[in-house]
């Protein structure tokens, strides 16, 4: 049970942490690009292309984390299975004296 709890927590926190760092990085990239475009509006085309490229690179790191999420997500049990297991465990504990 601890395994499933740890797995659920890890899956819950994995992608958001990656998204947080990616958001910071993408903000810096976009800020630099926008500042360059404000200084030299005639270079907007090249700067925009470079900005899109940088954003896609940073985003792809988040996508790797999402891939790990999808890979690990299969190991999580279904809620109905867990609930029936808990009920079965509670039923067994009710009929038999607790050993602890």
């Amino acid at each position: 049970m601890v395994y499933f709890m740890a797995l659920a927590l890890a899956l819950g926190f994995g992608v958001p942490v990656a998204v947080l760092s990616a958001a910071l990085g993408q903000g810096k990239a976009a800020a630099a690009a926008l500042e360059g475009m404000a200084r030299q509006p005639e270079q907007t085309g090249r700067l925009q292309t470079a900005m899109i490229l940088a954003l896609a690179f940073i985003e792809s790191l988040v996508i790797f984390t999402l891939l790990v999420f999808f890979l690990m997500q299969g190991n999580l049990p279904k809620t109905s299975d867990v609930l029936s297991a808990i009920q079965a465990g509670a039923g067994a504990a009710a009929t038999a004296p607790a050993t602890r």
Binding site: F64, L66, G74
Partner: protein
């Protein structure tokens, strides 16, 4: 539109069920048991959105994409005139833009790479877009198909590297700038070269599969006349284009890295850079 997406879902459920009965792969078996318990229970919930799509169906869709591109090419060449009009004009604009794009990154000798880069870009863009149409599925939502694209680009880049630099030059390319440092640099260079097809594949797969999952989840939340996922469809069309462009840009960059002159030689290609602009301004002022 949500109705057609739930029809889409049920088609997928049916396919996964059939696969489970014939004993599919472990991934599909897991989600198919989920689908069978749901179907046996009698309620029609959405299937597991994280289910990896069926490879045979996606291969059929990718053949369809290839046929569409072929049809486009053949239709553009029909009664070709030297002053193009109509459909031929549009096709020539597409090819010219791809040519400019490739030459802009690789440099003056880049025209010979336009066929590969252009085909990769158009194939990926069309494959991504076709998943938005109900009834069709994007081939790029399968890691196998994107990995195939990555391997094609990888083999082509290595082949170009060997052809341009010769075998000795190609091996020296991995040694780094100084021969004294090569025991340190060579493993890093080789690993980073071998990981390129995987990063290309996973980036494309993750983006397109992820947006597919988002569309499915949003479509199953919305009710019939409130299609919640329509805005995300517009965003999906943008990311399709961006991912195709990123794949093409990376292909061009890997090709240009192999021939030892990097992008810095081509700063004069698209007009002046900022330093040259300032130098010209200082020259012309009295």
């Amino acid at each position: 539109m949500p109705q057609s997406h739930t029809d889409n879902l049920h088609a997928r459920q049916r396919i996964l069920l059939a696969q489970a009965e014939t004993g599919g792969t472990p991934v599909e078996g897991r989600t198919a048991t989920h689908a069978t318990t749901e179907a046996a229970g009698g309620h029609e919930e959405a299937e597991n959105p994280g289910a990896v799509p069926n490879a045979t169906l996606l291969f059929a869709n990718s053949v369809l994409v290839a046929l569409i591109l072929l049809g486009f090419a053949l239709a553009a060449r029909r009664r070709a005139e030297s002053i193009p009009r109509g459909f031929q004009n549009f096709a020539e604009w597409v090819v010219e833009s791809l040519n400019k794009f490739t030459v802009g990154i690789i440099g003056p000798g880049g025209e010979k790479y336009t066929p590969l880069v252009g085909t990769v870009f158009l194939y990926i863009y069309l494959s991504n877009l076709i998943g938005i149409i109900p009834g069709f599925h994007s081939p790029t939502t399968n890691l196998t198909i994107t990995l195939a694209l990555g391997v094609v680009v990888f083999v082509y880049v290595q082949y170009q590297g060997i052809r341009q630099n010769g075998l000795v030059g190609y091996v020296k390319h991995f040694m780094g700038p100084m021969p004294a440092l090569s025991p340190l640099i060579a493993p890093v260079e080789i690993i980073s070269e071998c990981i390129k097809p995987f990063t290309l594949a996973v980036r494309l797969f993750g983006n397109i599969f992820g947006e597919d999952v988002i569309l499915i989840v949003l479509a199953s939340i919305g009710v019939m006349f409130l299609p919640l996922h329509l805005l995300v469809v517009l965003l999906a069309m943008l990311t399709d284009f961006v991912q195709a462009m990123v794949f093409a840009i990376l292909t061009c960059i890997y090709i240009s890295l192999m021939s030892h002159h990097g992008p810095e030689e081509h700063a004069h290609e698209e007009g002046e850079g900022p330093t040259e602009a300032m130098a010209h301004a200082h020259e012309t002022s009295p």
